[in-house]
Symmetry: C2
Subunit: 317 residues, 2 copies
DNA sequence: TATATTTACATAAGTACTTATATAAACAAC
DNA sequence: GTTGTTTATATAAGTACTTATGTAAATATA
């Protein structure tokens, strides 16, 4: 017997509140299980700060539609946990500029895969056709009483840890994934130009039809990474458009894609791979070197504005 | 821009909380508009007390799945508003017996039609096919931002006040309404015997097929009241099974049903209507007298245990 | 029958929000 | 260029929950 269920729409407010409490508490259990000092209610603000890089109290408030003191309080708690930096704006001294601290960045990396699994878990439990909202709520409650949300998330985490990443070839149905992964990567490290959008949304005509290749890293049903081999001339290809989903970074997916490109190129008897990168991406360049790429001089009229290093890998073996 | 919407399932907990807050606040506005001193968060406990007649702290807790101190606190607030009585149980002195006070009963009568409209309003806004829970939530949010929940409820209240009650004849599709309305009535004023359930769930064979009639009061699409004329002998019928939905009491629906029965019987040239009632139902007896019924002696072997008064209305006119 | 355990409810303190209000800087108006 | 208004954030107090714990009666156990 559950009165809030019986009352249906008339007690929806109380029921949403109860459901919210359950989800918050269960998410807390997941963080505790993974030894993460973070509270679920901090998530929306923290997530926005990580996405925006630099933001303000007011901007967060507008995005979340909650009261301004709620944001001030949340920011103070994030500051106490040393997850953010709060600095006064030089120009407008009323404003406080909020950004992730180093500790915050590190915690973010740890939490992203957990958030990803939470998202997938809840998505799976709430995605089914229903004629009304209370029906959806009831099914979610039933699912959680059968096996709690935290248990579900933790067991899904375990299977996602063991899941194999497979590399597959281009298919038009993945055009959107190719676009999203690359745009996300560009937004994170550089800025997106309109030319990027044109190329990325027409991958087939710009890359495949010109003799190039695109590969995807697939985790279960999810496309989590991509890379392209763009044909420069016969036997010479540019390794480009490598991007990995933020939620899956740290799983060596980039290295798997790289290894696949090299093996593939050798099979095809290609003679050389080249790539353009930027010295600020130290980790990436370290990986390139690990796979045998060597720095060569940049041409004066480099095709990429954001690149300041060119590397090559001869494939004579 | 609404970040909680963009984050979808990952921020579902925070979003449910925000939605809950909105609904609670909007419901508060409705109560304030109608000059009712009541808080939305008190609803679940108050509703249970009104349904159960007598209950306890623990029983409410079990029905609502919240913490026990939450119930204790809610009950104290209801007591402070003088809406309930709290008495110690004579047998088990740990227990407190909770029941509605007279003031509570009066407030209940005022709130029932409002609850009814809130239910209908929210039901209408949340009943549509959707593939996932967040889709339902988004649509509800969109609806509320277009026109707030309180505004919707208040304008629906106004149109429901003006809505006409129509009387219709029996149709098998209303068998369940006939059953529910009568059972609710019996539970409120007497107790339900298994024989009642048999008769009420087989209205057609027990009443219609034996030459009787059943009428329903209809408000829009809702069946809100019923009455039966049971054939005793040619031209003599017993007026019985009159019941009105709690949400619609005070709208003279009983009187409309009564008037319809009398007009119908005259049209059919019936000679007499009789009825059995109980002296404790003072209001009902007052109405019967108003429509011309006069008390006559009960037969020794009365067909109803719960009746202690018999009345008749000659229809010679 | 004395003692331990369980049950029913109350109290205390904490939490994550809320509204109302304060403070100080920026901007607008005359 | 002073003054009033707006904007950005902080503080204070209240609320409706929570967990942890207390108290007293009922029940089980030895």
């Amino acid at each position: 017997m559950d009165a809030l269920r019986e009352f249906r729409e008339i007690s929806l407010g109380s029921r949403l509140n109860r459901m919210s409490d359950v989800m918050m508490k269960e998410t807390q259990k997941v963080y505790t299980y993974y030894g993460i000092d973070f509270d679920p209610y901090l998530f929306p603000a923290f997530k926005i700060i990580s996405l925006k890089n630099k933001t303000t109290n007011t901007e967060i408030r507008e995005l979340l539609n909650v009261s301004q003191p709620a944001i001030t309080q949340t920011l103070h708690k994030l500051l106490k946990k040393e997850l953010i930096n709060i600095n006064s704006d030089e120009i407008d001294k009323r404003k406080k500029i909020i950004s992730l601290s180093d500790k915050g960045e590190k915690l973010l990396i740890k939490m992203i895969p957990i958030w990803n699994v939470i998202h997938e878990t809840v998505e799976k439990l709430t995605t089914f056709p229903s004629e009304n909202l209370v029906g959806h709520l009831s099914q979610l409650e039933d699912a959680f009483s059968e096996k709690s949300m935290s248990e579900r998330v933790i067991s899904n985490m375990k299977s996602s840890e063991h899941s194999e990443i497979t590399i597959i070839s281009f298919d038009e149905k993945y055009t959107e994934d190719f676009y999203n992964l690359n745009i996300e990567w560009l937004e994170t490290f550089f800025y997106v130009e309109s030319h990027d959008k044109v190329v990325l949304s027409n991958a087939k005509s710009y890359i495949i039809d010109k003799g190039g290749h695109i590969f995807f890293a697939k985790d279960g049903e999810h496309i989590v990474g991509t890379v392209a081999l763009i044909k420069i001339e016969d036997g010479i290809f540019e390794l480009s458009k490598m991007a990995v989903s933020p939620a899956f970074r740290g799983k060596k997916i980039g290295q798997k894609l790289m290894q696949h490109c090299i093996s593939f190129s050798k099979e095809q008897n290609y003679t050389k791979l080249i790539l353009y990168s930027n010295r600020k991406l130290e980790n990436a360049i370290y990986i390139y070197e690990k796979y045998g790429f060597k720095e060569i001089p940049m041409e004066k009229d480099s095709p990429y504005e954001r690149s300041n290093i060119k590397m090559e890998l001869p494939l004579d073996s």
